[in-house]
């Protein structure tokens, strides 16, 4: 259970990460603003509350790991990794520039703290299973987190992986679906509906929960419960808003990859800074 001080700290961090990410994308002028913003809270909760990681030793063998299968949300993760000291914050202004350490999609060879290269949708859950199996073989009991998108869940490989994690009883594997209800071409129920996600993951044999993906308390309780599983992998479906907190992008079907100038980003940043700790009850 999060106490009030922890909750306050997480909300402040999330605000900072949202602003940093928006600033980095605004500095570049184009980016995956929608999927980056919908993941701010869960990534903040993982990296500031749940994950056993050490920025001094990014490849420490017994660390908890995160596979961001929807690799296009990398910029949010980069903001967090920079804040935690994996690399200099100045790197955030090099996003997607030639020779950068921070590419549009996560790359384990370029960015300290990135555990797996992702970007071709559908592949990260399989990699997470491989990491969990490798850890089990070595007697390492850390937790492997994987974040997939709801649009990404159209991919068949996700459901191949869904079978395998159950067959191998990977209880140290905790996956999230960022259910922001939008995919690149529009609303999911108009392009390729993937619901009922709870029924699907439950029927595949996963310990499945569904919570508000912008509510720290709900997510924290879900993760705590998931960690208690002894035989089942966990799926936590996060109901989120694509583009959350960025007024011109929120829930816009065009927000998968948007162009916007720095002045626009600055206006929203000023607005976010003025907000006094939005309550998530």
């Amino acid at each position: 259970m999060l106490d009030e001080a922890q909750l306050h700290h997480l909300m402040e961090k999330a605000k900072q990460i949202r602003i940093q990410t928006l600033e980095a994308i605004g500095y570049l002028g184009v980016g995956h603003i929608g999927g980056c913003m919908s993941l701010v809270e869960v990534l903040t909760l993982l990296y500031y509350q749940h994950m056993n990681v050490n920025p001094q030793y990014p490849r420490k063998r017994d660390r908890d790991q995160l596979v961001l299968s929807k690799g296009h949300a990398g910029p949010t993760l980069y903001s967090i990794l920079a804040d935690k000291g994996y690399f200099d914050k100045d790197w955030l202004h090099t996003l997607n520039k030639g020779g950068t350490h921070l590419p549009s999609h996560c790359d384990r060879n370029l960015t300290p703290g990135i555990d797996m290269t992702t970007g071709s949708l559908g592949q990260g859950l399989s990699a997470g299973i491989g990491i969990a199996l490798g850890n089990r073989m070595d007697g390492i009991h850390s937790t492997i987190f994987v974040i997939i998108g709801d649009g990404e869940s159209n991919e068949g490989q996700i459901w191949e992986a869904a079978q395998a994690a159950v067959q191998y009883k990977l209880n140290r594997l905790i996956a999230f679906t960022d259910s922001n209800r939008l995919q690149l071409d529009g609303f999911m129920n108009e392009v390729m509906n993937i619901e009922d996600l709870v029924a699907k993951w439950t029927s595949f044999g996963w310990f499945t929960q569904r919570v508000d993906g912008h509510d720290f308390k709900q997510m924290d309780e879900a993760i705590t419960l998931a960690k208690k599983q002894e035989t089942m992998p966990s799926m936590i479906i996060l109901d989120t808003i694509k583009g959350k907190g960025v007024d011109f992008a929120e829930n816009q079907p065009s927000n998968h990859n948007m162009k916007f100038d720095y002045a626009t980003a600055a206006r929203v940043i000023a607005k976010l800074q003025a907000e006094n700790g939005e309550k998530h009850e």
């Binding site: 384990r108 060879n109 491989g130 490798g134 073989m137 490989q157």
Partner: protein, 312 residues
């Protein structure tokens, strides 16, 4: 030379030997363990065997994940599925991510035989050759299989091996040393060089050389077990010595061994060459004896094409 072994048994034994010495070796299968012949590996090392069911894409993704934890995963399937079906998973999760996945495609080319055209990979070398840094090889006998699998396990980076799983005669002595990227000269000649890869085509090239010798034509025969990186120095030497080259592969003539050799020659030392291989055709069902004739992969084809070059 008549000493025959079942190649899949040799592969399995080699993996077991490697796994006994190195706990990082892990086996992945996609419901083809009976075909690949790795059952005894799975019995000896159940905790290091992952069978994902009929889900090759997931198999390759899991192999990539295992590799990030320091494991050395060998992932097996038929060559068709190991190349065409999982190309993006192998490309991104394993190769682009600079991991250490050993992918093995069995039943290459006409050896898919009774499984027919759907299972007949005439394009896997070509598909794989476009992946940067990937090491691609095809052993020609039980000895080279054992030695090259050992080399692959040591190599830091992804590899793709074509595995002929049926019987094959020993070409090499047990003591022969192998290196990935270094072809083997099996026979020295001065008139024509036959560069072959794999069990069937190295055998046919040796037969062709023997026949040509009877006609007073002296042929070099090279077992070019590694398709990538291709042994440039050896190809240039052969061009200098023989002046005429025939490549022999159980694969499309496009993008495979013949293309790799041609690329070297055209950039360094253009000499007349011909490519024996499948000529822009899909596979089909039949025995290997039928298919080798059907797709003109025989010693007779090699002799025929070689002679035509010499007449020019």
């Amino acid at each position: 030379m008549s000493n025959q072994s079942e190649m899949r048994a040799v592969y399995n034994e080699t993996l077991i030997e490697l796994a006994e010495k190195d706990e990082r070796i892990v086996l992945l299968e996609a419901d083809l363990m009976r075909a690949t012949g790795t059952k005894s590996f799975s019995q000896r090392f159940p905790e290091r065997t992952i069978n994902v069911g009929v889900a090759e894409a997931n198999m390759v993704g899991i192999a990539a994940g295992l590799s990030t934890t320091g494991k050395i995963p060998f992932a097996n399937s038929f060559a068709t599925f190991a190349s065409r079906r999982v190309f993006d998973q192998f490309f991104i999760s394993a190769n682009y991510a600079q991991l250490n996945v050993k992918l093995v495609g069995s039943d290459p080319g006409i050896t898919a035989a009774l499984n027919g055209g759907t299972h007949m990979s005439f394009e896997d070398l070509g598909i794989m050759r476009t992946i940067p840094k990937l090491v691609i090889f095809e052993p020609s006998d039980p000895i080279s299989l054992r030695k090259l699998v050992q080399c692959a396990a040591k190599h830091e980076g992804c590899t793709y091996m074509r595995l002929h799983r049926g019987m094959a005669s020993a070409i090499y002595e047990d003591t022969e040393a192998f290196e990935l990227g270094k072809g083997k000269v099996l026979r020295n000649g001065k008139d024509i060089a036959l560069i072959a890869t794999g069990v069937i085509m190295v055998r046919e090239a040796l037969k062709a050389a023997e026949f040509l010798a009877g006609e007073g034509i002296s042929a070099s025969v090279v077992d070019m077990h590694t398709i990538k990186p291709i042994d440039r120095d050896l190809i240039i030497d052969l061009a200098k010595t023989c002046g005429v080259i025939v490549t022999c592969e159980n694969h499309q003539t496009v993008n495979g061994l013949g293309s790799a050799v041609a690329e070297v020659l055209v950039e360094t030392m253009p000499v007349p060459m011909a490519r024996v291989g499948v000529k822009d055709l899909f596979g089909e069902v039949g025995s290997v004896d039928y298919l080798i004739e059907r797709f003109e992969l025989t010693a007779a084809s090699i002799i025929n094409q070689g002679k035509q070059l010499l007449l020019k």
